[in-house]
Every structure is written in structure tokens, then in C-alpha cells.
Symmetry: C2
Subunit: 237 residues, 2 copies
């Protein structure tokens, strides 16, 4: 089975202008998260979609889904965890009520990346089935600098080997269960990225190429950019 987990657990502190978590802010009149969910609904290979939202917004989220999609038995809202992996744990424990297959695949995605393409979703699913885990990336265009002390350069890694992480991150659920629950509480706090856990556990994580439209909406500027993308796409229809 193939499941999607839309991760909207966070409250977001970078937007500044608003109290509302950024995934609920409107773009062309529609909350960001509904664009994201639509992108996954359109993929018929996905058996079920879980949306993890912070507890205060569970009923708000259910209301949004109801008014946008009506009665839809492919979507379930679950309560988010204290961090990204906590939300994944909650999604998996909901999945485990009906499916114990370790090879079932979970495609996890940031709620605030609404413009993920069908190609990216498909390639994530294919790569997770074939290789076990995959991460969506784009090549780095800036020079990246490493400094442990925030004062002097330690190292300027070769740019051609560097990528920016996007999402989806997609994996066999059994892998996550094995690796995450083997971590100490201390490690759980620091290892907030699922692919980082796999990598540190010695597993090979396959790359899938993302694209520039798969942007993460974290600032007021990103919201304006999203408005421009939606306007351009509706012009083309």
C-alpha cells in the first residue's frame, strides 16, 4: 500500500505578520494546504492521505476538507506530534491499525510546499519501492560555507556535490519503525529529518530531483510568489 503524510504540525515563526500557521494562509483565496492535498489526491497510486495538523487546528482542517472536497474517504486528519518525526509517528500509528506490512510506503511532504508536481510524486513512489527510501533535492546554486563557531570558515564543500533538500521524503514504513525507535530520546530531539536518520543508520537514500516550483512557503514574500504562480497557471488553462 502507498500512503501520503502531509505534515502540517508546525506553527511557524518566520511569517511574522500573522498568528495563523502558514499552511492555512490563503493563496488566491484558498488555503495553501488545500493546494498541497490536491496535488496528492490527483495521484491515483496513493491509497490514503493522512494530514497531520497541530491539535488546535484539527477541527478547522476537517472543516476545510469538507467544504473543499465534500465527503472524501481518502483523507484522514490526525494530530501532529511535537516535531516533524513525531507527526510521522502519529501517521504511522494510524496506518498500523489496518496495515502491518513493513514494505508499505509513506510519502511524507511539507504542507507548505503546495506546488509539488505529479512527476516528483511518481518518482518518489517508484524510488521508495525500488530502493527503500528517497529524498527530493535540487542542485545548490550558491556557494555553501561551513563554520562550526559562527566566526571563521572551516570548510567550503565542493558545490557540485551539494543539493537543497525539498520534500517529499518517501520510505518503507518498516525502515522508519526500525531506525526511529532505535534512537535515544536525546537523538530523537536532534534528528528531526527522516532521511538523516536513515543515512546515519547506514541505509542508502536515493535522490529524486525536485524543481523550483516546489518551493516552501515560509515568508510573506513566498506567499506573494505563490500568488503569482497560481495566477500564471490559471492564465494557461
Amino acid at each position: 500500500m502507498i500512503y501520503a503524510g502531509i505534515l502540517a504540525g508546525g506553527v511557524g515563526s518566520r511569517m511574522g505578520v500573522t498568528e495563523m500557521p502558514k499552511q492555512f494562509l490563503p493563496v488566491a483565496g484558498k488555503p495553501v494546504i488545500l493546494y498541497t492535498i490536491e496535488s496528492f489526491l490527483q495521484c491515483s497510486r496513493i491509497d490514503h492521505i493522512y494530514v497531520a495538523v497541530v491539535s488546535d487546528y484539527v477541527s478547522h482542517m476537517k472543516g476545510l476538507l469538507n467544504s473543499e472536497f465534500g465527503v472524501c474517504d481518502r483523507i484522514t486528519v490526525v494530530e501532529g506530534g511535537s516535531d516533524r518525526n513525531g507527526s510521522i509517528v502519529n501517521v504511522i500509528s494510524t496506518i498500523r491499525r489496518t496495515d502491518s506490512d513493513p514494505d508499505s510506503v509513506l510519502i511524507t511532504h511539507d504542507a507548505v510546499r503546495p506546488f509539488v508536481s505529479p512527476r516528483i510524486i511518481d518518482e518518489n513512489i517508484d524510488a521508495a519501492i525500488e530502493f527503500g527510501a528517497t529524498d527530493t533535492v535540487v542542485p545548490a546554486t550558491d556557494t555553501i560555507i561551513r563554520s562550526a563557531d559562527d566566526e571563521y570558515i572551516d570548510d567550503i564543500p565542493v558545490r557540485s556535490e551539494l543539493y537543497h533538500g525539498q520534500t517529499p521524503q518517501t520510505f518503507r514504513i518498516g525502515w522508519f519503525e526500525q531506525d526511529y525507535f532505535a534512537l535515544s530520546e536525546e537523538q530523537k530531539k536532534t534528528l528531526t529529518d527522516a532521511c538523516r536518520i536513515f543515512t546515519l543508520s547506514g541505509r542508502r537514500v536515493r535522490l529524486v530531483m525536485g524543481d523550483a516550483f516546489n518551493l516552501k512557503i515560509t515568508t510573506p514574500f513566498d506567499l506573494r510568489l505563490a500568488e503569482a504562480i497560481v495566477a500564471e497557471r490559471s492564465d494557461k488553462k
Copy 2:
């Protein structure tokens, strides 16, 4: 003495829509590079400004400077090199006709980063005088992933230690002369970043914090963003 080197040697292939190097494209009717040069003219600590442009554009550049600033004895146009460091070499050899002090400081800057602030310029000069070399950076906000084979993740470095490189890069001219001319021709081709040369030579390069406005204009989208920044600033005046 303190010199600025505005590096506009490149022809730019990412813009796509135009044959003209991006540093000459207009923002609110004025070529990008003139905004950049103005940012340095406003700093009275800088004794002289060298602008390195690709040879075909030397006379075009002189014409722009003349019509924007009139007769200005603080600016000299020099021919750019085949890469970034080649342009720096040409600037330094021009400086060396009149100044042989190894401790003279050169603040190098991308021509396509027009909105560098007075604070960033000042802190670059201060840090280069005190520490010998400095690089302008902003903290990384995305997860960065390293993959040598473009297929599997090798490593996900700790994000809190990572930065995006901007410019200026500022240094004692004697340091550059010592380190760059010690490289083989092969190394010169791969080490296109001055601070990377210093780091590999075992020198400590100090960090100066940049900011989001100090963006590099490399795509049509960046040009529109630059238009928005100029419009907002003229509103505030």
C-alpha cells in the same frame, strides 16, 4: 589603502531571455551594475573602485559611468579575466602600478548584487584589516544534502553550521598574491572562489553576516524582485 573590485566579467547563461550580460539589464530604467557601483561610491573609506567587465563591454561600461556619474576619478574600468579570480588578478595588477603595499585591502563584489548595504561593506573592510580575509554569508535555511554520485545521499551536514556565500569577499592583497600564484594552472581552474583558496592555504577567513536584500540577480524572477525592492525604497524616500 582600500580598493573595491566590482566583478562583472561573466556573460551569464541562466537568464535565458536576453543576449546582454545580466549586470547591464535595467532595473527601474537603470542598469543593475550602476546600483552596485553607487553602493561602493557611498563608502568614503574606499579610495578607488575598479570595475572588471568582459572586454566587449568595456566601452559600453565607460559610457554608462560617464552618463550616470559624469567625470569621476574614483572609478576605473578594467578588462575582466576568464573567470572570477582572473578578473581579480587584472584588478590587482592595475592597483600594483601605484601601490605595492601587501596590506592594502581589496573588497571584491559581484556586479549583480546591487543592494549590498553600507553595514556589510563597513564590516568587510574592518574584518579584512583585522583578520586578513573575510567572506559575507547568511545562515542556511534549507537542509543541505551532499551526494558525490548524484544518486544517493552521502551526508546531511548539520544545518546550524552551514551558510550561503554572498559577496563581498575582502582580503589583504598580499594574501591573494601569495596564495593564488602558488596554485598550479589545474588548481586555478577549479578554485574559482578567493575564500576557498585562502581556506585551502590554511588561512582563517572571518565571517561577516550578509542579508536577504544582498541578493544575486541571475534569473528573470530575480530582476522582478529587484524592481520591487527599488520601488519600495523610492516609496520610503
